[in-house]
């Protein structure tokens, strides 16, 4: 909780004094972005080593391999939950007027996000076992995605015609909107937001199921 909050405060203070951005709204915006981004990023990066780290267990006892990345994902969900509590407290301290009945809509939205992100850890664990440089490659891609998503960069930047199409189809951007729309802007996310996130989830499940079906039997030889 401390790390994303400190990051949000740092960015908000920098933007407040350098770019004259309002501190309260910006810190809430950044904090909400960072806690969701951390969930996604760690699902990929920590998930990618889940099976490798459990190598000694796997070589002793046969269990469904999906339980190892699932364990990682559940730990990240716990961290995310603490971050959400912090976000709520932060909003109530800085902008209590933001609280509304629409916050209840954030609950099923968050559930949708979690359901869609669960298979990410699973396919990351398979590819992370098959390819030893997967984690490094994923880190580079995630770094690019970090700057190409409205995690801490203002959403208005992504309205630019050159990047608006990308923002429309970017699953991270849409997941962030599922969280921010009811919590910060007192509005429902658009059907496009739900659609892109759902499609992203389906794609993740398809990749995870195919990866496990193809490789689960022989992954033990890669350990």
């Amino acid at each position: 909780m401390v790390q994303p909050l400190l990051f949000a405060l740092t960015i908000a203070l920098v933007f407040r004094y350098m770019f004259k951005q309002p501190f309260a709204e910006l810190s809430i915006y950044v904090l909400s972005g960072v806690i969701l981004w951390e969930l996604f990023q760690q699902s990929v990066l920590l998930g990618s080593t889940a099976i490798i780290d459990a190598g000694n267990f796997i070589k002793q006892k046969r269990l469904p391999l999906a339980i190892y990345p699932l364990q990682i994902f559940l730990a990240q969900v716990a961290t995310f939950s603490i971050g959400l509590i912090g976000l709520v407290v932060w909003i109530l301290i800085l902008r209590p007027g933001m609280a509304s009945w629409l916050w209840l809509m954030a609950i099923p939205n968050i559930a949708l996000i979690l359901v869609c992100l669960l298979p990410v850890a699973i396919w990351a664990s398979v590819f992370g076992t098959l390819y030893r440089d997967f984690q490094e490659a994923a880190r580079v891609i995630l770094m690019a995605l970090w700057f190409l998503s409205p995690v801490f960069i203002a959403k208005s930047i992504f309205a630019n015609p050159g990047i608006a199409v990308w923002d429309m189809v970017n699953p991270v951007s849409n997941m962030l909107q599922l969280l921010r729309a009811p919590v910060m802007y007192d509005q429902m996310p658009s059907l496009l937001n739900y659609g892109v996130v759902a499609l992203f989830g389906l794609l993740n499940y398809a990749i995870a199921i195919c990866a496990l079906r193809r490789h689960e039997r022989t992954l033990v030889y890669y350990l």
Partner: protein, 248 residues
């Protein structure tokens, strides 16, 4: 007639070598784009070659052979860890594997918590762990230190606790890979007795060891594995003598 608990039929086990040559995204891209594959390199290593074996209830089978003969591969395949490339394995009964005694230990947690970690990993239920906890602690001789973090234990204490947990419950089919004795001389005597009890109470046992005396003392049948196949299968005295002759 004794029931067959383990039936291995024409089993072949190939270790794929592709992890070595295609173990990175970079190498995969190179091999896809340039079609590069090391000249004359095999696709796999044949760890077990068309191996057939039946183990009946009551049998204590020892497996001997040089390093790389396929002993551990056979054990892990029976335990379900390695899927056979072809052939079939049928196992009837609950398997208790003793491959890595220290597996599952968390150095930051105390002895009691590690009893639970290791117990769950071995398939014990919560009820079984609660019932066995005192017996495990007493057998390991760690009553005074059990509530201290594992990182404060000596190597010997760790091994004693690990052995005590792993052998607290037997199973129908016990698979043992080179973990027959542990700890100091005094503990070894108790450990040997515990192992003999496990072997006696299990329906069948397969023991892999380089210690021919241990094999001779505890087994009713011995397999000599060489190059992935069974070279000899018979009475301990006969097979061990033949194996010893081949070494000299």
């Amino acid at each position: 007639m004794a029931k067959i608990l383990i039936k291995v039929q024409n089993v072949v086990l190939h270790y794929p070598l592709s992890p070595l040559f295609r173990g990175s995204i970079k190498e995969t891209l190179f091999s896809l784009t340039l079609g590069r594959r090391p000249n004359g390199s095999p696709e796999f290593i044949e760890a077990l070659k068309s191996l057939s074996l039946s183990v009946k209830s009551g049998e204590r089978v020892g497996v001997i052979g040089r390093n790389g003969a396929g002993k551990t591969s056979l054990l892990r395949m029976i335990a379900g860890v390695y899927p056979p490339t072809s052939g079939s394995i049928r196992v009837h009964g609950r398997i208790r594997s003793l491959f890595d005694l220290m597996l599952g230990f968390e150095p930051e947690d105390n002895g009691r918590e590690n009893i639970r970690h290791r117990g769950y990993l071995l398939g014990y239920t919560k009820q079984e762990i609660m019932e066995l906890e005192d017996e495990i602690i007493d057998f390991a001789g760690l009553r005074e230190s059990i509530d201290l973090p594992l990182k404060t234990y000596s190597a010997g204490m760790n091994v004693r606790l690990a052995f005590s947990i792993s052998t607290a419950l037997g199973g129908d089919i016990v698979l043992i890979d080179e973990v027959f004795a542990a700890g100091d001389a005094e503990f070894q005597v108790r450990a040997q007795e515990r192992m003999r009890d496990i072997i006696k109470t299990s329906a069948c046992m397969i023991l892999v060891s380089h210690d021919l005396e241990t094999i001779s003392d505890n087994c009713t049948r011995v397999l000599w594995l060489d190059n992935g196949g069974i070279l000899a299968d018979g009475k301990p005295g006969d097979v061990i003598d033949a194996y010893s002759e081949s070494l000299s």
